[in-house]
Amino acid sequence: MLKETTKTRVVGVDLAYKQTTYAIVDVRGNIVAKDGFPTFDHANVNDFVSHLSEGIMTLAESTCGYENLRSVGMSAMNGNFLTGCIENSPNLKWGGQIPLAAMLRDRLGLAVALANDAQVRALGEHTYGCAHGMRDFILVLLSYGVGSCTFSNGRVHLGANGFSGEIGHTHLKPGGRPCACGKEGCVETYCSTKGVMLTAQEILAESSKSSLMRDCEHLNPRTITEFCNQGDELAIEVYRRTGEVLGMALANYASVINPEAIILTGGISKAGKWLLEPTNEAFEKFVFHNVRDKVKIMTSTLVDLERDLLGASALAWRVKEYSLFK
């Protein structure tokens, strides 16, 4: 079969808690066009898929044309690459198993791949970001939850059922803070947004020192970072304790994976050195000696939303091309 053209565009979709964004991306990772809508405008997932597929069609027709679209990649919380489903997401409104990839494929007539947010970020960093050229690395996502993805020998390690990477639900010791997953002491209860806030409250309660955090109306990880920058001792202590837990969890992780780098992403990682320095200190203290001083702990250099869209586009290139109309 002689073919004169290949399809040169893919669609990347980022399904996040607040906003769903979709973009048309070319082979070099240039975002040609993008648009979006609030995820929770649609309580019914069928309406959501309709809105998304119409949006993608409109965007395609106004730029490169539908016939140039090769495939679609999606990033979603609790997305499972192996099944193409969103599975029991505690944060999205649609419960149970949602075969999102199949639903969207049926509407668009194109191949659709779905993966969880950490996997898509790892793909994004590997293709266009600071993990470019790395074959073995770990990407950690510190946000409302704590997730991760391991790259093994140049590929995403998915695990037997696609659930690998649940670093947020590992434990440093028996007992500890209760977690939404039903267990106690999960790393997530210390290193996610909620965990950092709890640590802040604990520190404020156990100390009588003055702190900018005491009078702050909207205390959140971002404002705590601002207070750190202003030299607030207790605010610095919040991230020191967070980093201590994170560093130890990552040390255990790195001892079994032996990564070239650990890339921290997500809102909490924006605390920068206030988090990274104590994390690194605890990491080097606990990690096995033949890995010590060799693992690069770094933060992402890409803009968050752009990275997730690019990651989803990289995912799209990896699935087999399929078209209803061939």
Binding site: S152, A160, F163, S164, T170, N252, I257, F288, H289, N290
Partner: protein, 325 residues
Amino acid sequence: MEDNIKSRVVGVDISVKRTTYAIVDVRGNIVAQDCFPTNDYPDVNEYISVLSEKILELTEANGGYDTIRSIGISAPSANFLTGCVENAANLPWKGIVPLAAMLRDRLGIAVGVANDAHVTALGEHAYGRAHGMKNFIIIALGHGIGSCIFSDGRAHLGYEGFAGEIGHTTYIPNGRECGCGQRGCMETYCAQKGIIITAKELLAESDKPSLMRNLAEINPRTIAECCEQGDELAVEVYRRTGEVLGFVLANYASIVDPEAIIFTGGIANAGHWLLDPACETFDKYVFRSIKGHVKFLLSSINNRERDVLGASALAWGIKEYSLFK
């Protein structure tokens, strides 16, 4: 067109006491096997000379050297990516020893080396419990604790080939002292020495009668024998050990999502005395989407054959090479 397809490999297992080497065919049948003491040769050059001579002798007596495709070696602290044994704590040769290159130069065929957990994983995948599995974890419980992850049908080696050091993940910060210089490594609770310490601690903190008090030597095997005779304190030793093991494996499984965890090594012989409490703690701590999906299995390969079989599987996985072509 080649009429002489080489149909056999040599598997070598270097352990602290003994070096075992065997000729293995494509189906994993051991055609011939022999061994010699490792510690007789503190000079590694001399050791390589002896090993290559012995391999030649064995192959000449069993079908000829030209039927041998390649050689696989299992050794402690070996790195598959470099072909070296790197700072092995228990072997007589110090520093970085380029074992694969040295043996290849003597024998003129391809040689691969890998650490014991990696080789065990290859053996179980080719001929044992993990046959047909794409994602699993091997846990080798012995003097130390090693592990190997299979990811999508291949061993995950990591950036520099050091992956799998589960024995040196921290269970309790500032806990028991470990040979690696850290404190509280899980190995100090679940490996041979750790179990003996736990047994002694238990005997000291309780004045209950126990068969362990009369043992000439307390070791994992004799403690397991006491368990079989219903000794409460001995059962408690493995219960505490299993609790630590289950906790650590739950964390491991939560990040790897394996189909199975396969146990090998001397301590695994304690069987259900160790694995029942390990399973219980595992279920308590593992992430819910993984709970109930991970099989705990004991290796099905004969202890004496596992390492040379694994080494033979390693030999098949490397590129063929011959000086004489």
